[in-house]
Subunit: 212 residues, 2 copies
Amino acid sequence: MTKNSESTAIDVAPENPNSGPIGKKKSTTPLLAAPVPVRQDRGTHRMKRGLAIFDFVLRIGALAAALAAAAAMGTSDETLPFFTQFFQFEASYDDLPTFQFFVIAMGIVAGYVVLSIPFSIVCIVRPHAVGPRLLLLILDSVALTLTTVAAGAAAAVVSLAHSGNSSTNWLAICNQFGDFCQQASGAVIGSFAAVLLFLLLILFSALSLKHH
Amino acid sequence: MTKNSESTAIDVAPENPNSGPIGKKKSTTPLLAAPVPVRQDRGTHRMKRGLAIFDFVLRIGALAAALAAAAAMGTSDETLPFFTQFFQFEASYDDLPTFQFFVIAMGIVAGYVVLSIPFSIVCIVRPHAVGPRLLLLILDSVALTLTTVAAGAAAAVVSLAHSGNSSTNWLAICNQFGDFCQQASGAVIGSFAAVLLFLLLILFSALSLKHH
C-alpha cells in the first residue's frame, strides 16, 4: 500500500530528481534520506497544487493592489485655481510625512511581491516543497505588517483631513483640496485590499503546511 | 526502526486516545486512520515542545504589551493649570477618535491573547497536535493586523501632535500638553512591542508546523 502510493506520487511529479532512483529500487528497507514521499497521496497532492495556484493568483492581486495604492497616493497633487501675491495653494502627498512613508512602504511591498512570485511558481511545480512555502509564510507576515502600518497611518491622516479635530484645532482640509483627499482615500482603500490579500495568503500557506 | 520510534512516541504522549491500540497491535499492515505518529522521533518532539513553551512565554509578553499600551493610552489625560472664564484646557485620549480606536483595539487584542493561552498550553502538552497550532497561527495573523493598524494610526497622530504640519496648518499640541503626548507615545511604543511579539509568534508557529 505504501509502495503503491509512492509510485503514484512519482507519476504525478516526475520532475523531482530524487524520486527516480527510489521508484526503481525494489528493496524493502526504509530510506532515511528521502522520507517525504511516503505519506503523500493523490488527494492531498491535488489540494496542495490547488492551494499553490490560488496563492499565485492572490499574489498577483496583492501586487496590483499595492501598485495601485502607491500610484494613487504618489500622483495625488492638487493646485487650487487662485493664488495670492506671495504663494499658490497646492497640496501634494509629500507635504505629509505619513503619505511619503505610505508611498515608500507600498513600493517596497510591491517589490517584495514581484520577488516572491518565482517562489510561488516553485510551490506550484512542487506542491510538497516545505522550504519555499515556509519562507513565503514568514516573509508574507513581514509584508503584511509593513502594509498594515502604512495603511493605518494613512487612514488616520486621511480621516483627520476629512473631518478635522476640534479639540486640537486641526481643521479639515478636504473642503479646499477635494480631489487630493479623494485620491488619498482611494490609495488607503487599495492598501487595505492588499492587507486582506496578505491575510488570505498567510491562511492558505498555513493550510498548505498543515497537510504536509 | 519505524515501529521503534512509534512506540517511543506513545510513551512520551500517553494522553492520545488513538495511539494506545496502535501500540498494542502487532500486525504489519499500515493503518490508514492514524498516519501521524509514523515519522515523529524524540528530537523533533523535544524541539516542538521547546517551541510551544517559547510560544507560551511570548504570548504572556504580548498580553503584557497590549495591556500596558491600552492602559497608558486610556489613562492619558492632562488638564492645564490655567483656565479662562469659559472653558478649561484639557486633553484626553477620547478627544481623538484614533486614540479611542487604539484603546479598544488593544483591549480586544489583550482579550484574544487571554483566550488563546489555553490553546498554547494544549500545544505544550501535545506538541504534535496540528489543529490548535494552525488555529493559533491564523488567529495570531488577524491579531497582528489589528494591533498593527492601531499602532500605525496612533503613531501617525502622535507624530502630528509632536511636530504638527505646516502645509495643512495643523499645529503641534505637545508644547502645551507635554505629559499627554508622552503617555500617548509610550502607548505607541508598547503596541509596536506587541506587533514584534506577534510576528515572532507567527514565525515559531510556522516552524512548528514545518516539522510536522
